[in-house]
Amino acid sequence: MTPWLDIFTVAAVSAGALFFLAGTVGLLRFPDALTRLHAVTKVDNLGLGFVVLGLLPQSNGLFGALKLVSIWLLVQLSGAIVTQLIAGAVRQHGPRG
């Protein structure tokens, strides 16, 4: 049973790392602020989401798992809000405002 859980962890965390990589490349390569925000949000929800999903079988007990999930939810919340605020500022003042 345990080896399958470990394989699941490795696969999911690797998938998460791939999204981190893709998001970073997007952040560096995309042409303007709004598309770059789009790249960064993928890191927040899918990248971290897969990492947390992969770590769930390794957590110690239900509380450990709940803590991991709540970290993901909090990052989701702050990511979504900050993205909205930055996008709002870009729309109002232009990318250099």
Binding site: L74, L77, S78, I81, Q84, L85, G88
Partner: protein, 313 residues
Amino acid sequence: MTISFFYDVGLAVLILGVGTTTIFAHTAFAAVIAFVVYGLLLAIAWVRLAAVDVALTEAAIGGGLTGMLLLGAVARLRHAKVDDIRTGLPVRLVAGVLCALIAAGLASAILLPPAVIPTLAPMVMENLAQSGLGNPVAGVLFVYRALDTLLEKVVVLLALLGVWSLAPDSAWGGIPALRVYARPNATLTFLAQLLPPLGIVVGVYMCWVGAKEPGGAFQGGAILAAMWLLVMIAGLESPPSIGRPWLRLLLVVGPALFLAIGLAGFLLANAFLAYPPGYAKPMIVAVEIALTLSIAVALGMLAAGPPERVRQQ
């Protein structure tokens, strides 16, 4: 050579790189953002060194609150003329030399350690049980180095007095404006309604758990201060005028209680800041709770800045 070795080396290189970025950044804004990233990376480094208490403080104060103070300073400096803020070459040279001296001193202490590193850690661990605390850091802060801890809290109040003394005479006793930060909008209001209940629970937990796990008054207080600031910046609650009696009371209740218990030590345990046997833990927890309130209010008002307008009534 394990994988954590590569992780640590990568982290150290990253910290040095971000530190260099902070120094050579072209604009003050970019430098502050790099500084915040630097603080968060340092927090990870502290976790790697198993100093979770320090990591929490670094993340909350070094990354969070200091970053906010610096961003506020950058926003204020935008209105200043460039000539006013550019320092001359000699001053920058002297600052650079002094920083290099400090770095060299630290480097020599780390690279050339004495054969036997002096430590009191085993003695602390042996005697920790007497205080009833489970967290050795809290034990050192409140039992062995209580005087330092007391003075540290008083310094926060002094810093706040320094900020308040920048107020123009006409605004003395008025309310901080907070206008250097984002203008309230619907998204920010949503966050300010959603996050504080959660943050307050985390802050209270952080203070309460400090006696036996990493955490404590500073970390808990910083989180409470952040929640308060969020509500004020979102415009849900106006900052209080600095003359309010409840505000003044909350600011001094922590250090005052600490000092009172310290003085009571003369009568009950024959020394300043000594605790009577058997009562150490309840007394320390009481001081921690009062300190958390004081630190939360002091940090919140520090970030809110000097009073700028008088309340219309």
